[in-house]
Structures are given as C-alpha cells and as structure tokens.
C-alpha cells in the first residue's frame, strides 16, 4: 500500500465524503469510499472506450415497431 501524503483535501471536502460514506451501507468509512472512487475512475480512464453517442428515442420508430408487433393497434 502506498501512502500519498502530497494529496491535500480540504476539511470541508473530507466531511462531504464522510457524509456520503455514511449514506451508503456498502462503504465501511470515507476512506473505503475514496479508494473505490479512485479505483473506478482509473478503470474507466484506462478502458479508453469512446462513449456511445446515443440518440434520443424517436417515438415514431418505437411506435412503428410496437404496431408491427401488434402491441399498438
């Protein structure tokens, strides 16, 4: 385990993480939450997968398909 003394966070930010950790049952404490957050962020940045640029659902297309299947008359 590496201790990172150079990372400074304000008391206020730390308190916010304390409150967030208390909000969820699955984090033992704020340190567990921060560690999970950092790990998730690293995973996601490393994946380097472009986001799917999703289009909005077009009601007409959905309606057409539901009509073709007989769910809308």
């Amino acid at each position: 385990m590496v201790i990172m003394p150079d990372i400074e966070i304000s008391d206020e930010l730390y308190s916010r993480y304390e409150r967030l950790a208390a909000k969820f049952d699955d984090f033992e404490n704020e340190t567990a939450l921060i560690q999970y957050l950092l790990e998730s962020a690293a995973d996601e940045l490393e994946r380097n997968v472009p986001a799917v640029q999703s289009d909005g659902i077009t009601n007409e297309a959905v309606k057409d398909r539901l009509e073709d299947l007989g769910y809308i008359e």
Partner: protein, 543 residues
C-alpha cells in the same frame, strides 16, 4: 456454485407446449438432452405477460412495482402523459444485475434484453434491443463492436423482421419466412462470434425472433382460428418449430464448447397463443360511464365518423393496400413539427378525454387500468370513493360477455398493489386478465361504439394460459429436478448465488437453491458502489 461461465439464453415468447411438442417429435435433440440431464420446468411471467415488463423484472430481480417498467408505454406520475420505456428509465428506477456484477468486477455480455437502449458501459459488451433502439443508432457498447458486426455480417440486424402489414397469402408468407430465417441465421452466427471472442463471466443472450414469428404466424396451428388458411398452414404450421431447430443446433454448438464448471440456463419470458378477438378497454370504460369524452364539435364529429364511416373506409383502404401506410402517416404527424397534427385531428385519443368527468382510463394495451384519483391534475376520485370505483369496474368486467362468442371476456381483475407488491409511482390500479383468445387492446383511435374488434396480430400472449414460459438448466451446478416454476425476479439473485457473490439487497426474488447447488445466499447493499460507478462513468464520458 460455479467458477465457470453462466450462459443464460432467452428465447422470447416460446410457449412450453411448443418446446415439448418439438422434443416429443424428436426435432429438438439438444433441448431434449438438456431437459433430461438437467432441471426442467416453467418460468412464471409477469402480469400481464409482456416482454418489456418481463425482461425488466428478469434484469433487476425486482417486482414491476419497484423497477417501474409496467408496460411498453409508461404513464407519468399524477398526470396523463405517456412515454415509451427506455433503458435510461429502467436505470433511473432500478439497477439491472449487470451493473451489480460490474461493481464486483464481473464482466457480462448482454444481447437484446429490452429495454436496452442506450447500451450501458458496464464491463463486457452490451447490444441493445429491437424495440427501443432508434434506426441507425449506435446499438453496441463498446461502439467498435457494432462496426465489427456490420463488417462481418452483411445482413446483421438488431432484431428480427416483422411482416410490416404485409398480407398473409401463401407467397407473401413464404417470402416473409425466407427473409426472417436469413436474418435470424445471421444473428445466431453473430451470437456465436460474441461467445468466441468475449471472455465474460455471465453471458445473457436473448433471441426475440420466436415472439415475432409467433405473432405473425402462430395461429396457423389452430384450424379454428378465423385467419387460418389451409394452404398457408400446410407449409408453415411447423415453421415456429423449424426456428426452434435453429436454436437447438446453436445450443448443441454451445454445450460442445462449454467447460465442466459452466452453467447453462434457457428460458422464455412468456408463452404464446392464438387471439380470436380484441377488446378495447377505453371504449368499454366510456360505454360504462367511467370515461368521458369532450363535447367539442371536433370530438363529436370524430365520434360520428369512427362509429358510422370508419369501418367502410378502412375496408376500402385495405383493399387498395393503403390502410397501413395512411395509418402510419397519420400517427407520425403527431408532434413531428409539421403544419397539421393529423393524429390529433383525425383520431379519438387522450386529447379528446374530458378528464374532469373521467374516473378510469388506460394508457396502453394489455389490461392495466388507472383510476383518475385526485392527485392527478384533473382527478375526480377521492380516497373515500376509490374502493367503490375499483369494485364497480371489477364487477362489471367480470360480468361482461362477448355477444358473438357467448363467453366471458375477463377471467380475473387484480388490484394493482397485489399484482405489483409495494407498487410505487404510477402503478396501475387494476390489472385485467383476459380469457384465452382475447387481447386487451389500446388502439391509437377509439371507436366509442365498438368494444370488440379484430386483433392487430392473430397471435399474442395476454391471458393466464400464456403466462408460463420455458425453463431448462444444465451443468454440474444444476440439481436433477423436474416441474419447477421459476419467477422472473428469481433469475438475477440466482445468478449471484451461482457465482457465490452476495445478493444485492434490493432484489425482491430469492435464489433458487433447490435448482442450483448452493453458493452465497447472504445479501448486502451495492447502492454506494453503483452510484460511484455511474457517477464516474458520467464524468469520464464528459471529459
């Protein structure tokens, strides 16, 4: 419990009796072997047994009252507006199990589970479904997967083709079936490629084709059906079984390559059966005085038109092959920014309902009724009146007789809170279960004088008889057991149980330790980790 891969193969809409018939006829040797060597039974679907609600229940391990996807069309809370169900809506209300697995670092491959668009960015791959994906939209995550598919499979389509209003003579059905099988064989090849290329701990692969095919030609096995044509039936009554043969070969391929510690589950989300008649619930509510229409000149004019001229005009347009086209053009004019909203002008829709004089209404097909309670914008039914209104509707529906077929139409009417335990948000107040052979329809226009009509498709899944789907499980972790009934909300917790992972405490279903050898059955909260993952993905996506 298993250290291997869990394969879940969904065959949308396959009725247990069709599978049994194929097994007994010797047409489906792999299904027969899996059922013989593993566990066999049925899947108990939702009420009503419709795919959007059923797969959402499967995906979340939650009752519809908790995941909030009650139908293809969802009613807004305390209002009358509707919108189509999407993956984003499901994720806003609940957590699909692949997100729970993702926070445990477990990768999943998900294909065609509705509502699947937009596809999530969880570890593994995700291909959206044929209902919610807009034409031409990016249907896969990672996005490169879509490009690979399009390059490798010339005909690759995200879902099976429908007959799109085409006719049902012999040549037309021949042509449709040929096109249908070409697309589906391509999709099966694509599925094999996914299995070969991706190392996922859980593979959830759904084929929507059985449901689509049965909607189109499922009635051809029923000589009493009004749309039965002997020449077409001679050629195509067994076509749904031919399709199951394709999946039988696929399962043979899959089981040959599975490792000893892998597990296979095959299920369908509901059954299927012929539909003889459709029943328009909103028209019936209107006739019984529970739903009122406005008295404006336009609404009155439309009522006259639909009750006295429409059927003749419809027949004429159908004869000329124009009806489907015109109907679609009219429906599409609603909200398309064009000069004239033909749908509003020509159809009797929600815009014509006099809400301040309405006690009950539907917003979609398949029998869910909402009471216009006073928490709606123009609500009329107080808490004191609620029970009496619900009881009146229930009594009248259960007494209802079809004058032509001389039989009851509605077999049961359930209270929403019973059908959808702990129902939250815009939960239906009543759920009607039709008798076999009836479909409770939601037409885009309401013929106030006509509560019975022709069904849009000759086969569907709506009554209690079509509520059961298929269930087969096979592998070393599977117990030798027959005649089990597995609820759709039990699959997700059972997958965690199989993988020896704590079951998310939000899941309503219980793991089936009578069917699969025991793993972890403890429960824990995943809420914080899911929230962190979602937030991180949202932030990274915006970078």
């Amino acid at each position: 419990m298993t250290d291997g891969t869990v394969y879940v193969i969904g065959l949308d809409g396959v009725p247990p009796e069709l599978l049994s018939r194929g097994i007994e006829a010797g047409q489906l040797p792999t299904f027969a072997r899996l059922a013989d060597e593993g566990a066999r039974g049925t899947t108990k679907s939702t009420l009503p047994p419709i795919s959007m609600m059923a797969w959402s229940t499967f995906a979340t391990g939650q009752n519809p009252g908790n995941h909030g996807i009650f139908n293809f069309l969802l009613k807004e809370e305390n209002g009358y507006g509707t919108e189509f169900a999407t993956a984003d809506q499901l994720r806003a209300n609940a957590v699909p199990f692949w997100e729970h697995l993702d926070v445990q670092g477990v990768s999943t491959g998900v294909m065609n589970v509705m509502p699947g668009y937009p596809p999530p960015r969880t570890k593994g791959f995700h291909i959206s479904d044929h209902i919610t994906t807009p034409p031409g939209a990016p249907f896969a995550h990672p996005p490169a997967l879509a490009e690979e598919f399009q390059a490798a499979f010339d005909e690759f389509q995200i879902g099976p083709p429908t007959a799109e209003g085409g006719g049902m003579d012999r040549n037309e059905v021949d042509e449709y079936v040929e096109r249908f099988f070409a697309v589906e064989r391509d999709r099966i090849d694509a599925t094999k490629a996914l299995i070969e290329q991706w190392d996922c701990r859980v593979m959830l692969l759904v084929f929507s084709a059985p449901d689509v095919l049965l909607h189109e030609i499922g009635h051809l096995r029923d000589p009493d059906h009004p749309d039965y044509r002997q020449d077409v039936a001679k050629a195509h009554a067994d076509t749904p079984l031919d399709l199951l043969e394709e999946y039988d070969s696929f399962l043979e391929w899959l089981t040959d390559r599975m490792a000893n510690d892998d597990t296979l589950v095959v299920l369908s989300d509901h059954g299927h059966g012929p539909i003889y008649s459709a029943f328009n619930l909103n028209s019936w509510l209107h006739q019984e005085g529970f739903l009122s229409l406005k008295s404006t000149p336009l609404t009155l004019l439309k009522r006259v038109g639909y009750n006295h001229l429409f059927d003749t005009a419809k027949k004429g347009m159908k004869r000329l092959g124009l009806y489907h086209h015109i109907k679609r053009r009219v429906a599409r004019s609603s909200g398309d920014g064009g000069r004239i909203d033909w749908a509003r002008l020509l159809t009797i829709s929600q815009h014509d309902i006099d809400w301040v004089a309405t006690e009950a209404f539907t917003v979609a097909g398949d029998g869910q009724i909402y009471i216009n309670t006073i928490d709606h914008a123009d609500g009329t039914v107080s808490s004191a009146e609620y029970k009496q209104v619900r009881d009146s509707i229930r009594t009248a529906l259960l007494e209802l007789e079809d004058p032509v077929r001389e039989q009851s139409v509605i077999a049961a009417v359930e209270d929403g809170e019973d059908a959808y335990a702990d129902g939250q948000g815009p939960c239906p107040d009543l759920v009607c279960v039709p008798e076999q052979g009836y479909r409770l329809m939601f037409p885009q226009t309401m013929q106030t004088g006509q509560v019975f009509g022709e069904p849009q498709k000759p086969a569907s899944h709506t009554s209690a008889a079509e509520r059961d789907g298929v269930f087969i499980a096979w592998g070393d972790a599977v117990c030798d057991i027959d005649d089990v009934s597995v609820g759709l909300d039990e699959y997700a917790p059972t997958i965690f149980h199989l993988l020896d992972l704590p079951i998310p405490d939000v899941m309503d279903g219980t793991p089936r330790s009578d069917v699969f050898e025991c793993g972890d059955t403890s429960r824990e909260s995943y809420d914080g980790r899911v929230s962190v993952k979602r937030t991180v993905r949202s932030v990274v996506r915006s970078l």
